[in-house]
Amino acid sequence: MGAMVQLDRVEKRYGAHAALAGVSLTLEAGEFVALVGGSGSGKTTLLKTINRLLLPDTGVVRVEGRDYATAPPHQLRRRIGYVFQEVGLFPHLTVAENVAVTPKLLGWDAGRRAARVDELLDLVALPREVAQRSPDALSGGQRQRVGVARALAAEPKLMLMDEPFGALDPLTRDQLGSDYRALHERLGLTTVLVTHDMAEAVLLADRIVVLQAGRILADGAPAALLASSTDPDVRGLLEAPKRQAERLHARLGGPA
């Protein structure tokens, strides 16, 4: 499999502040990559340069080998699934219309769209009855499932997710995270997940990219990072969830 996304010395500045200070990164097709870092580290900026919601000041971003800098951005975005914390379902449309919005923009006929909506509701484990409901009538977890279904509707190969489960309660979050990981496998997706929660990154991703002040601090598989990284910040970030898990285990008891 080839490179799905390539960033080559990408810079993005806001006045004197560099949100991205020359980042180069290659994401292979089929990878599940977590972008981790504190607020202001540049992780969301990096994600948004991939589907051109933000335009880099310098540097090149390639998706499936192509530089879309001169193409209209909507053409690129229709090929990429995008999920973010606020979900952003259209309140004036039904669940089914929300899910089918990108296929409609691509000109799919009504029959094909309806079949796709049913298929996607099954895929994200929502009952088909919700199709005709308004997004307001759903719980937070259900809304984000619709958000994932909408992102998957036009059969993208690449999914960009910006703190997608951040606003959900821990139980729903855990359930949705593992459900999505299964979808990633089943559909053969490439996923880029932005999170500030190292535990979530370790649990879901194959590869973790740690950002700080617009630069890549560390990049590797979770276990490899813990074993090899000498940077105290990276170690701190990785050890925190481990310590927390050990403390939880000690307090709650259970098989050693």
Binding site: N51, L53, P72, P73, H74, Q75, L76, R77, R78, Y82, F84, E86, V87, G88, L89, F90, P91, H92, V101, T102, L105, R150, A154
Partner: protein, 517 residues
Amino acid sequence: MNGAFDAALALLPEYLAWHVVLSASALLLGAAISLPLGVAAARSARLRWPVLAFASLIQTIPSLALLALFFPILLAASALSVATFGRGFSALGFLPSLLALTLYSMLPMLRNAAAGVGGVDPAIREAADGVGMTPRQRLFQVELPLAAPIIMAGVRTAAVWTIGAATLSTPVGQTSLGNYIFAGLQTENWIFVLFGCAASAGLALAADQLLGLVEAGVRRRRRVLVTAGAAGLLLGALLAVTPLASFGRPAAYTVGAKNFSEQYILAELMAARLERAGAEVRRKEDLGSAVAYRALAAGEIDAYVDYSGTLWTNVLKRTDNPGRQAVLDGLTAELKRRDGVLVLGSLGFENAYAFAMRGDRARALGVASLEDLARQAPNLTFGSDLEFLSRPEWKAVEAAYGLRFARQRSFQPTFMYRALSGGDADVISAFSSDGRIAADRLVVLTDPKGAIPPYDAVILVSPKRANDRRLLSALQPLVGAIPVEAMREANYTVDRDQQKLTPATAAQAVERSLRTP
């Protein structure tokens, strides 16, 4: 009582139709301008401030003044168009009213469009970009549908404002429900005033409710409500406008009148004569003094009655007073030469500005002439009509006698007489043909220095009708045929409080008493 109500009801189809046509056109035009502008303002902070500030500024201009301002602007534009394209357009009536009301309707629609589109949740906007909408798709599929309830609320407010303000288009010569109010106020026909208010309020209320239905439909995403409201609006507008299908064909003649009873009566008198000669006649009433002459010279009205002194000072800008006949002869020659306007002749009476006092008060103060008045003036209150104090006649009298009053107050003519009899004014600027001078036993002060020019009532005919045989032969018999007593009597029957006659009925009485020369 019943007579006035029936008379009002008979006029309703025409007044309502014009009112609906005018306010609907202004609202549609206003929406066509302000909605795109509001959307653009929501996007660009640089545009937002000037656009909203301009719309607010318009709102601070009193609506009557806004309407009046468009007349000279359009007159100039029309003159320019004549010079460049050889064709002018009417500066009176529909066009100035439409433009002023359009401007007036814009603020609520602009403000709400900007607020509605600007207020869409940024997360939803990001989602629209994320799913691959173009900026245009985002606007039409997401932002506008979400802003629609707020935009509709703005349209609703604009509709109510516009329908209310459209009553003010009467003085610039556009028929509307305001005709009831202006004519009623002038002749103290309170049934007319109430009828006009009720009709325009009813219309505003109906439009507001139907638009409310559309708004509710948009808010609750119920297409049935939107369709029902829109259909109601369309049907109502069509029904209201149908009478114009017959009124719509151009009347053969348009007779003008300024805004007081004598003018209404004389316009009815001329109109009745033309109608008896088989012509279609339209009335344009409540025209301002300067508006009336310009409208005649431009051919927008065909005939009206003006007064020699008014024309002498205001149109020809003369300050001398060479005597009654010399003024008449001078006008006849000069108006013909300058504007092509035909002075058909004097009706036979004068309606001069006259300084009048209550008889008892004049005797107590020993005032019989303007010279006597000048001595007492520093202790007295002067009540005038709305335009007298800015007219050259007043400047002439003020200069000739050195009049300095303790206070000066302006009134509608009707209320001016009330103020005199109630003691709120000691002297008023009356009109010599006014029936109330005799009825209220007022004393008219003499003018020993001849500072007030003569005011013979004259029929003026527009340049394009100057050789129109039918019009001239219908109006010619009025020349020299109306004695001042007959005019005073007729004016009084319209102005008095009890058993009032309509101007049309009073005109019939004048017709019967015409003096054959």
